[in-house]
């Protein structure tokens, strides 16, 4: 009987092994060619060391060749991660923690006679309340005379985006959509301001490195002799650089929104009570909070033991939420940057390597609070398209309708030509009725706003 398995589309580069699905479960195969390194990884204590320090995702070893491959050595069943986010959806502090996790993993590896052969940002993920390394097969035997093979990759995928965001104080995560393999260093060198040259670490790893990358010739590989001391200095320097970068808590588009919203009589309290009651009764484990701001309602849902993907397009708001959940240790909120009118697309080879946001979103409850007017009036998106977008994200929906008379809508229309005659509750309900049945409806105090609980029809 032929063996049934589906290779993970993003897992084809590394000859050490690959990820695949079998009976709906994700596994990782270790190939025979990587046996020696993998044995050292486990028997040398590095695996246990990384797992105990929460730097690496745990796995179970399965003694079965599920792929039927001749190159099979071991099958691993990694711990399930409910939602995968990509670097272009990370806020500054997620990047920074991911970079530090990678460097810490490299240091731990070095202390056990191994080294990281990959420094890809896609190998790190928000899991169990911190940025954690995913790829078990990224550790190989360390040869002190060799330089760090992943050095350039680290600079392109971690150091460069962080440095640009730090020096320009501009949220630049989406650059990785254009450059999924990392930012070209000669370009980074041109974009960085002159003053960045006065930081020794930035100068060496980005400016000098960028010049060298540009001047590269067809000369044979220069493998000058390296040493453990040199590698240790290199890691220390990269760590110092990453630690020195910061992203100021400047006020974003939505910063201060809750303080202002909270002042509106009992609007906030009543809204909380309704959502808490409705969400508690739903048969869902996952929620996607779109337009989450600093995640006030994401926290409410997380308190009900739901796993919440908390999405917003304001980098500062997402960063603040991330800092909060790190500090308060809330592992079941996954903050991401997302512009709903341009959600993360499918990328990579055959458009299969990185799934689109819609394809990845864990399906359950979609929460869209005080958002409809921003999509309909702010972005000119008709109700029927908004309804379809939300339907694609999950079968349940809690949505807040903000009427035309609302001061926030009036504020939006003040500087805009009013071409929104169609923005009326009856049109809203008609458009959503194509996909959903309304299960509950409640007015939020005297605000004039209404909350709806909707359940999608079977597709």
């Amino acid at each position: 009987m032929p063996v049934q398995f589906t290779p993970q589309p993003s897992s084809y580069r590394d000859p050490s092994g690959f990820l695949f699905h079998h009976d709906g479960i994700l596994y990782r195969q270790v190939n025979k060619s990587f046996q020696e390194d993998f044995e050292l990884f486990v028997s040398g204590g590095l695996y246990e060391d990384l797992v105990s320090k929460k730097l690496l995702v745990r796995h179970e070893t399965i003694e079965a060749n599920l792929t039927g491959s001749h190159d099979w050595y071991k099958t691993l069943k990694p711990e399930l991660i409910p939602f995968i986010s990509y670097p272009y959806e990370w806020c500054f502090d997620m990047w920074k923690d991911a970079a530090l996790t990678t460097l810490e993993a490299a240091r731990e590896a070095m202390s056990k006679g191994m080294m990281l052969k990959d420094a890809s940002a896609y190998n790190v993920q928000w899991h169990r309340g911190r940025m954690m390394f995913l790829d078990t097969l990224s550790f190989e035997r360390y040869h002190p005379e060799e330089p760090w093979i992943a050095y350039r990759q680290f600079c392109e995928q971690f150091l460069a985006p962080l440095a640009l965001m730090h020096y320009l104080q501009w949220p630049l995560s989406p650059l990785l959509v254009a450059y999924p393999e990392g930012l070209p260093l000669p370009l980074v060198k041109k974009l960085l301001p002159f003053r960045s040259r006065f930081n020794l670490h930035t100068y060496l790893h980005l400016h000098l490195h960028g010049s060298a990358a540009q001047k590269n010739t067809l000369a044979p590989k220069a493998r000058s002799s390296f040493s453990a001391k040199k590698l240790s200095d290199l890691l220390r320097s990269l760590e110092t650089a990453v630690q020195s970068f910061s992203f100021e808590r400047r006020s974003g588009v939505w910063s201060g929104y809750y303080e202002e919203a909270g002042q509106r009589e009992d609007y906030f309290g009543q809204k909380e009570a309704i959502i808490d009651r409705w969400a508690r009764g739903l048969p869902v484990h996952f929620a996607v909070d779109i337009g989450a701001n600093e995640g006030h309602f994401s926290k409410l849902l997380a308190g009900q033991n739901k796993y919440v993907v908390s999405a917003d397009f304001d980098h500062y708001a997402v960063n603040r939420l991330y800092q909060h959940i790190r500090k308060e240790n809330i592992p079941n909120i996954h903050p991401i940057l997302l512009d709903l009118s341009h959600p993360s697309p499918a990328l990579g080879l055959n458009l299969e390597e990185r799934a689109s946001f819609t394809g990845r979103a864990p399906k359950g409850l979609v929460v869209a609070l005080a958002l409809i007017h921003h999509l309909a009036i702010g972005r000119n998106i008709p109700f029927n398209r908004i309804a379809r977008m939300m339907r694609d994200l999950g079968p349940w929906l809690i949505i807040e309708y903000v009427p035309r008379e609302d001061e926030k809508v009036e504020q939006m229309l003040r500087d805009k030509k009013d071409i929104y005659d169609w923005y009326r509750p009856e049109n809203f309900l008609q458009a959503f009725a194509e996909h959903y049945a309304v299960r509950a409806e409640e007015r939020i105090g005297q605000s004039g706003r209404t909350l709806y609980l909707m359940e999608a029809y079977e597709k």
């Binding site: 093979i149 060496l204 390296f226």
Partner: protein, 53 residues
Amino acid sequence: MAWWMLYIDPGSGSYLVQAIIAAVLGIAFFFKNIMLTVKHFFFRIFRKKSKMP
């Protein structure tokens, strides 16, 4: 992208510059460590003095 870059493994280009950078860092950290040792030395002396009755 220059044509020759298409024939070079992306990782290999950084070996030579990595060696140069590591050498510079070796010197920089050597002096930094001396500075830290000196600072630490004076810090200990002053701390002892301030603890004296």
